[in-house]
Subunit: 341 residues, 2 copies
């Protein structure tokens, strides 16, 4: 075991998209375990668009990470020492372990146990982490899709969107994707179950959306907000549902940007616009993971991971997802002297 | 029976708030009854803010009234001739009978039978019409209030808002009203069950809203949209519900006005913003009317009617509610040669 815990801490808050300059290394000795704690050695860091919100002082759903503190991150790791009867050495866990080699964790930091029998432990931070579980719960509980309805997904080829596409198709919906490159459009059509897809950079006007969604949009699974959302809203059908799962296309919320006023559409079309945060639903993880795992084993659910190596790659990995460069769920494999799980 | 049917038709569409100049009289002979029809003699016309939407070419939830057609209106009337076994002469009905003396109606135009045993038939177009039923259903089904929550109502002293205030208090909520005059503020506090109320014209800033809603807002019953809504949204609590029941404060929706972008608030606070149109819920009228009627008989539910007389008063009555001049549910009593019911 190394005697040093490499850590990446927040240096200062970004104004918009975070970059490497907002973080710095701050290595420390290995933490001592208090009673009830256990030591997790991180193997995969989950890189998520939500991390931008976690370091922003603007409106968020959690206390922002303080400058000088370890960057908040979900991760998959293995228990290497324990003072907690519930977690044994060798257990693989998914939880809040941060951008560091080792985390002295408490029970409250654990989201799920990771079953390594089904392949790489990285899936615990991917399909069986917040991405897959978000896709299923947000789509079904907020969207309540019915067969034959049209589901439109922004960031359609992303780590969440790619699963939404496949699940909505499985539920009998017509599934339409918006994504940021022609390559991703092809991927949406070939791999992720979309009936139609468009590179929004090629123009997202009324005619394009009418062609994509001739029956209008019943469920808008929105990961972007911004101009993409503004283009989609006029195409919502009566009793449309807008699932707000992210706001990746808006660079800054301070000051609050403006948008077309929505109240008349909400009223006259009886829309329902709701926000979804996966961390409200932690108790649902085991059942949803079991279902997703069955589908993946059947070969009817694909999921891409885009893994870079080395703790120091984490800040740029985060930036890269806002540049739309990732090709699947972005993760960082930590090469901390152990073999990859 | 008069041989002439006085009618007020739409002359041309208004750009914003409708006025007398947008309507004209177009009297016609009494209509002949086809098989299945029955003749309704109107007694009370219901004047509703929604009528602005019904004559607008902008986005709405129904086909707009065509120029030259009788102005669409809910009304209470009595059957004076019938070729329909379901409706007998003397029956009192609430339905789509228009701005006219007589309507040759079909079953589809009837919303509810009016029980004249409980007082004036005008209540059939008031508390027991769309106002009272909207207040109950929108508050309970979209708002799902829990005791102790804060409910904020815009147009708090209006025909819908005044009922929402009383019902929310009955359900154990803290109820806060926004209204347009000091007199209405007093009425909110003295009669409509509000714990606190504010004349929004006196300033609706953050400090004022914090004082009114020290625990924030759990349910925003919004009848106005516009600047009032923009002031309220930042005070919404986690899992707040916004019931969009009207958009009275926005003069025109073409072109679409702008507003502060809502997606980040919807996401991070897990808000639910939904539209409510009473005409989706016609099957609920009998049960809700029975409940409201029990409370009114007990003396625990008050409702004000603001009645003007004469068919020709209808256009200005409609304008007056957008000036905020009504003192309760606006109606027009038609003096068409009969005694008032």
């Amino acid at each position: 075991m190394t005697a040093v815990n490499r850590r990446i801490v927040l240096d200062h808050r970004p104004d918009g998209i975070p970059g490497a300059q907002h973080f710095r290394r701050d290595d420390q000795p290995l933490p001592e375990l208090a009673d009830g704690q256990f030591l997790v050695r991180n193997h995969y860091l989950s890189i998520d668009p939500a991390q931008r919100g976690w370091i922003s002082a603007g409106p968020g759903y959690t206390e922002p990470v303080a400058p000088g503190a370890v960057m908040r991150s979900l991760a998959v790791g293995v228990v290497t020492a324990t003072r907690n009867a519930k977690y044994a050495v060798g257990d693989h866990l998914y939880g809040w372990f941060g951008w560091q080699d080792f985390c002295a964790a408490t029970e409250a930091q654990v989201i799920a146990r990771v079953d390594t029998g089904q392949g790489s432990a990285s899936a615990g931070a991917g399909l069986y982490g917040i991405c897959g579980v978000t896709a299923w719960l947000a789509l079904t509980e907020l969207g309540r899709p019915r067969a034959g309805e049209t589901v439109l997904v922004s960031t359609a080829a992303g780590a969440v969107g790619s699963v939404v596409g496949q699940l909505a198709r499985r539920l009998g919906c017509r599934v339409v994707g918006l994504t940021g490159s022609d390559e991703k459009v092809r991927q949406c059509l070939a791999e992720f179950g979309y009936h139609a897809a468009l590179n929004y950079r090629s123009g997202l006007d009324t005619a394009a959306l009418r062609t994509l969604c001739p029956q209008g949009v019943d469920i808008f699974f929105d990961n972007t907000a911004g101009e993409i959302a503004d283009a989609v809203w006029p195409h919502l059908n009566l009793r449309g549902r807008i699932i707000q799962c992210g706001t990746a296309a808006v660079g800054s919320w301070d000051p609050l940007p403006v948008a077309p006023r929505r109240e008349r559409a909400v009223l006259t079309k009886r829309l329902r616009h709701e926000g979804f945060i996966i961390f409200d639903h932690l108790e649902r993880f085991p059942a949803v993971i079991a279902q997703l795992s069955r589908w993946q084993r059947e070969g009817t659910l694909v999921f891409h991971e885009d893994i870079v190596t080395g703790l120091d790659a984490a800040p740029d990995a985060l930036t890269s997802i806002f540049r739309g460069e990732n090709r699947g769920k972005k993760m960082v494999r930590i090469s901390n002297g152990t073999r990859a799980l």
